[in-house]
């Protein structure tokens, strides 16, 4: 069973008279264990696709199945549940809360997934350990470098053992050294069986993935497995 299935999925933005087809009949399957890179020119609908994948937005039309369930029409609270329990999102701008410590930031998805309180801290530390950030647990984000912030954000994304990690241009704000570190980290997660979808403009970043999806004008125009 596919983890995610898009069937003729469209997202249309209406702005007065004008309509923008951000996604225009997308057909896509993501299998458990996939490590996919999405490439495409600006405005081709990559972020829109990620938002729908990440339960932050719902499609205008078409079918969307997640773990076999039809989820295109579910309500806000249900989508929040998926975001807390099934999805880990990594942003270009890190999006850590500035006043919380790294450990507290990492714990947020556990807080909102309403799981037992006792092992929150422990699980946050395990996640931080996987990204090599245990020593920074008590720092606040402003005390970290860009690469460290993104690793903390990845720890937050994996803390609830999500079915799917989504990263929208995660390396966009990083220097080349940190790009390598972050992509190595993703590769390692993928090797451990984590399903990952990474949006990027950078062919070198895309080369880390096992699968490349190219988009244009709201459609998937190419979907290849790397090295084949």
């Amino acid at each position: 069973m596919a983890l995610v299935e898009f069937e003729n999925l469209s997202k249309i933005y209406r702005m007065g008279e004008e309509t923008v087809r951000a996604l225009d009949g997308v057909e896509l399957r993501i299998e458990p264990g996939d490590f996919a890179a999405i490439l495409g020119p600006s405005g081709s609908g990559k972020s829109t696709l990620m938002h729908i994948l990440g339960f932050m937005d719902s499609p205008t039309s078409g079918q969307l199945r997640f773990e076999g369930r039809e989820v295109s029409g579910i309500g806000r609270a249900r989508r929040a549940w998926y975001r807390a329990n099934r999805i880990g999102f990594v942003f270009q701008a890190f999006n850590l809360l500035p006043r919380l410590s790294v450990a507290d930031n990492v714990q947020l998805p556990i807080v909102y997934s309403r799981s037992r309180i006792a092992d929150r801290r422990k699980r946050a530390l395990v996640a931080l350990d996987r990204v090599g950030m245990t020593h920074r647990a008590k720092h606040v984000p402003s005390q970290l470098s860009g690469g460290e912030r993104q690793r903390a954000a990845i720890a937050r994304a994996i803390v609830n053992n999500p079915s799917l990690i989504l990263a929208d241009e995660p390396t966009g704000n990083l220097d080349s050294q940190n790009v390598v570190r972050i992509m190595d980290l993703f590769t390692e997660l993928a090797r451990e069986g984590q399903t990952l979808v990474v949006v990027t403009h950078d062919e070198q970043v895309a080369a880390y993935a096992r699968r490349t999806i190219r988009m244009r004008d709201g459609r998937v125009i190419e979907d290849t497995v790397n090295g084949v």
Partner: protein, 413 residues
């Protein structure tokens, strides 16, 4: 439900952190609540003090069984013969003694104002009143030393005096006043007794004024000072409350005779004063409620304003929290809790400020008039009010935060 409580609890902690992180702004936003609560508690203290004073006075002067005779202008049709009435005089007292079967106590008074008392080279001013023996019973005056004015003193118009506790302390700090001669306004009086201070040594208000008064026989007051038999005040006590109306009629019948049919007096019951007192209490309560209501409303608007600004500043935070799984209700509770923290902390500061406020008023305003009490119920009410205001003013901003779209919020710069 449990989760909601937990979220609210962590929201409260979070709110405290936020309030602390923006100390100055938080203080500004709390100002309205602080002033509102402080004003509420202080005003209740002032009003309680005033009302307590009136109540003390009412109870000490005979309560509901007291009838008071007052002079007043005769009706128009009698104004041309008004001079025929002798007014309120000692003859009224004699007539009531003779015919007032329902009256068990007569307390007339010739008030001589403030007079100078001299003893052993020391001089002090205090009020002087000419009274009859019943005064002691009506006010339940206690003797510290000696005796009170007796019937024979009145009959003979003896030059004897009972000192108030205050003057007794000044002239005779070690006792031994009885038998001493003191001068009152140039005349010599023999001290026959000294009164105990009413209301304890730290007495205020009515008690304090009462403790300064010195008494001489009413006949001595008329003979030696006023020169006629006019009374300043006349109170009587009704033997039983059940006969109040009958006693009132009896008094009017007696007095209309001594006043030769001229209605230049009125007998009033304390019920009227009691009603007056209740009206005053109501007026104050409404005025107070208005003041407190307006300041707390202003406080609430202040908090709402700040919360809207806070939410505007933290749109991105809202987006991030939602992106990692927060539901609208989580965000709602978080910001509501923050508003509650602001208002409750404001309420607490307001309570503390009210203590200072009350102390300040005590220092500045005439302390002799009444005592200003800190009222714990008013403090609790003010505090609860502030919490309610916090919730009420936090709801709208919190709803706005909760409704925010994830993607728009994340994109917000």
């Amino acid at each position: 439900m449990i989760n909601g409580i937990l979220t609210f609890y962590s929201g409260l902690l979070n709110g405290l952190v936020e309030v602390w992180a923006h100390k100055f702004r938080s203080l500004l936003s709390m100002m309205g609540i602080i002033l509102g609560v402080a004003a509420l508690v202080a005003m209740v203290g002032v009003v309680r003090g005033m009302i307590g004073e009136v109540r003390d006075y009412f109870e000490r002067t005979g309560g509901i069984t007291r009838l008071q005779v007052e002079s007043r202008e005769p009706p128009d049709e009698q104004s041309h013969i008004a001079h025929l009435s002798p007014g309120m005089t000692f003859r009224d007292v004699e007539a009531i003694q003779a015919g007032g079967t329902l009256i068990d106590l007569i307390d007339p008074e010739v008030s001589l104002g403030w007079r100078r008392y001299t003893y052993a080279g020391q001089s002090e001013h205090a009020p002087l009143q000419g009274v009859m023996p019943d005064r002691r019973e009506r006010l339940q005056l206690q003797m510290r030393e000696g005796r009170y004015i007796g019937d024979l003193d009145v009959e003979w118009a003896s030059p004897v005096i009972v000192l108030g506790g205050w003057l007794g302390d000044l002239f005779f700090p070690n006792g031994g006043a009885v038998g001493q001669k003191i001068h009152v306004h140039g005349q010599t009086f023999r001290v026959i007794g000294v009164l105990e201070n009413l209301g304890g040594p730290e007495s205020r208000g009515w008690f304090q004024r009462q403790n300064r008064i010195c008494y001489i026989p009413i006949t001595a007051a008329m003979k030696r000072f006023s020169g006629d038999d006019r009374l300043s005040n006349l109170s009587v006590r009704v033997a039983e409350v059940a006969f109040l109306d009958d006693a009132l009629a009896q008094m009017e019948n007696i007095l209309i005779q001594t006043h030769r049919g001229i209605e230049d007096f009125a007998v009033s019951t304390m019920e009227e004063q009691l009603e007056e007192f209740r009206r005053m209490e109501r007026t104050f309560t409404f005025a107070l409620g208005g003041v407190a209501g307006i300041s707390l409303l202003v406080g609430g608007i202040g908090i709402m304003n700040v919360m809207l600004a806070v939410i505007n500043e933290r749109i991105r935070e809202i987006g991030v929290r939602k992106a990692v799984g927060a539901r609208g209700s989580d965000i709602f509770i978080q910001f509501l809790a923050e508003a509650v923290v602001i208002s409750v902390v404001g309420g607490l500061i307001g309570m503390m400020a009210s203590v200072g406020f009350v102390v300040f008023i005590r220092e500045v305003i005439d302390v002799e008039q009444f005592r200003i009490a800190l009222s714990p119920p008013a403090m609790v009410a003010g505090f609860l009010f502030s919490a309610v205001i916090g919730i009420a003013s936090g709801i709208y901003p919190a709803v706005r935060a909760a409704r925010m779209n994830v993607i728009d919020a994340l994109r917000y710069e």
